[in-house]
């Protein structure tokens, strides 16, 4: 289950208090729950609606607009591959196929054990080091079959 602990509620309340208006902390609060639960759950939305004192649909609207937020849990490790033009020229498509093969899943899916999820992403701002990968919060450039093998071994 994904109930928030008191400690977690404290963190979210801090976001609601940080900026000139409480609601300005919403995107950061959503980033935070996405990190904890690997998605934004119904309970999270309910809690944030109470915290920010807005209708729940306001929270849902934002949670479903931004690509960083998901409604279903991502894998423990979220791997994104950039499909921007520069990364495409650098071979991001074949790196995506390589990841699909090694993980045994299609882009957009998670491994059955919940360890990895794979998605394509728009430009990651690392065009000079394509094909670029986003691994959890970390940008990794110049992906090769070899670097991908190492990466997958390293991630628990």
């Amino acid at each position: 289950m994904s109930a928030l602990t008191l400690e977690q509620e404290k963190v979210l309340k801090a976001w609601a208090a940080r900026y000139p208006a409480p609601i300005m902390g919403l995107v950061e609060a959503l980033r935070q729950v996405q990190r904890w639960h690997r998605c934004v759950t119904d309970e999270d939305e309910e809690y944030l609606a109470r915290l920010f004192d807005v209708p729940r649909v306001r929270i849902h609207e934002v949670a479903t607009f931004f690509p960083s937020f998901t409604q279903k849990p991502t894998g423990r490790h979220r791997i994104g591959i950039c499909r921007g033009l520069s990364c495409s020229l650098a071979g991001s498509q074949s790196m995506c196929s390589c990841l699909e093969k090694k993980l045994g899943i299609k882009e957009g899916a998670s491994t059955p054990d919940g360890r990895f999820s794979l998605e394509t992403m728009e430009c990651l701002g690392a065009c000079e080091q394509g094909p670029a990968l986003m691994v959890n919060d970390e940008l990794k450039g110049a992906a090769t079959e070899e670097s991908i093998s190492h990466l997958l071994e390293e991630l628990e």
């Binding site: 940080r18 900026y19 000139p20 208006a21 609601i23 300005m24 902390g25 919403l26 995107v27 950061e28 959503l30 980033r31 920010f52 306001r58 609207e61 934002v62 607009f65 931004f66 690509p67 960083s68 937020f69 499909r83 921007g84 033009l85 520069s86 495409s88 020229l89 992403m121 728009e122 430009c123 990651l124 701002g125 690392a126 065009c127 000079e128 080091q129 394509g130 986003m134 919060d137 970390e138 940008l139």
Partner: protein, 409 residues
């Protein structure tokens, strides 16, 4: 060759306050505070500094449209836009990574200019490393008493390209989905939480300390009469040495390609996208174009945010069109129907052509679609839909003819 923003990039600890100050950092801020608001605005005005996030709007002009405190009492804000997400652009990432204090100094100068006591740096969520660098730099600056009465706070986006557009950025900051606003009012009149707000790109703000230190006249002379100073180019694609290169405004495109090592692997150049994927393509015959805000415009394209993408002879321009329209379709916020539907159908038609199902009628449809998109939407993303494809069709008709053949019977 004069370099401003990247001048000390070979200093390994440039990101630390001590090094930055040793090299003259925060002297611009000191001078700005000493010279006063009016003199500061005069220097900025003389500099012809243009908005380097892509729009090219005069920076001093933007600052001067903020109503004075006496006419609009209450808080006013400055926001540094570090949401850089245009495919082909990565200079803001490099600027923040290597020299975060330069941005902080520029932001404080802008805040002083418009009498703001609260400033923000809005950074895309994917730039986690840069977020931490900025956090640390802000702590250093605060501890050294440099930030004074103005507070600077950080804020992150959540993966939407459109958040980089000023009014959509403000919506994001206000905890809403990133739908661009239809001006007027412009943000300088009613921006963040309805208050006067200046939103400037990272690179634009980084220029401010240099202008203050050396004067507006000096700055404008570095560039061209209408585009002052220098500009950063993010060079990627089929070049030997991709990276960020700083040049005076008006430098010919070919010099930028040469600096980046030229086309890699002994291949021939086919085309260059000059300013990020939303700027129409240029051919290998247009390499003499001076790269300032005016030069590319004379060729039907834009300097944009300086995201130079180099395409060699092996590239299929239908693939390029598809990649770009798919990007726009994915990033369309959905608010305006012409953009939402137009980008979606561009993507589908181009995808079908790539898998062998294109027809000559499709080409006509692509040509006609633009009439119903550009100018019919709220923001610059929507205005771009189809434009890039039509430029590719015009300049590389052979690529399109083979993907969209006449079908008989």
């Amino acid at each position: 060759m004069t370099k401003l923003l990247t001048a000390h990039f070979d200093e390994p600890k440039l990101h630390e306050l001590e090094t930055y100050r040793r090299l003259g950092g925060y002297e611009g801020l000191k001078k700005a505070l000493a010279m006063g608001r009016e003199a500061l605005m005069a220097e900025m005005g003389k500099s012809n500094l243009r908005g380097l996030g892509g729009a090219g709007f005069g920076a001093a002009m933007k600052w001067s449209t903020v109503p004075p405190e006496s006419k609009n009492p209450g808080p006013r804000y400055v926001v540094a836009n570090c949401d850089e997400s245009e495919p082909g652009c990565f200079k803001d990432r490099v600027l923040v990574t290597r020299n975060p204090h330069q941005l902080i100094e520029g932001l404080l100068i802008a805040a002083f200019a418009i009498d703001a006591y609260r400033a923000f740096i809005f950074i895309r969520g994917e730039y986690e490393v840069q977020y931490k660098i900025l956090e640390k730099a802000l702590d250093e600056a605060r501890a050294a008493g440099l930030i004074g009465a103005c507070s600077i706070d950080l804020m992150r986006g959540a993966g939407a390209y459109i958040s980089g557009l000023d009014t959509a950025l403000l919506e994001t900051m206000e905890g809403k989905k990133a739908w661009p606003r239809q001006p007027p009012p412009f943000p300088t009149a009613a921006g963040l939480m309805g208050r006067p707000t200046v939103v400037n790109n990272v690179e634009t703000l980084c220029m401010a300390p240099h202008i203050v230190l050396h004067g507006g006249d000096w700055f404008v002379k570095l560039g061209t009469p209408k585009s002052g100073g220098t500009v950063l180019f993010s060079v990627s694609g089929h070049v030997a040495d991709p990276g960020v290169y700083e040049f005076p405004m008006g430098t010919p495109l070919k010099d930028i390609l040469t600096a980046a090592g030229g086309v890699r692997g002994g291949k021939k150049l086919k085309a260059v996208i000059p300013g990020g994927v939303s700027t129409p393509v240029m051919t290998s015959d247009e390499l003499d174009t001076p790269m300032d805000f005016e030069g590319p415009r004379a060729k039907g394209t834009f300097l944009g945010a300086g995201g130079v993408i180099v395409l060699d002879e092996t590239v299929d321009m239908v693939m390029v069109a598809h990649n770009i329209e798919r990007f726009l379709s994915h990033e369309s916020c959905g608010q305006c129907t012409p953009c939402r539907q137009g980008s979606f159908w561009h993507e589908r038609i181009l995808e079908r052509a790539l898998s062998g199902g294109g027809t000559a009628e499709d080409l006509v449809a692509l040509e006609r679609a633009g009439e119903n998109i550009t100018g019919q939407v709220i923001c610059a993303l929507g205005d771009t839909v189809g434009v890039v494809t039509r430029a590719l069709m015009k300049k590389f008709p052979e690529d399109f003819k083979s993907r969209f053949p006449e079908r008989r019977g």
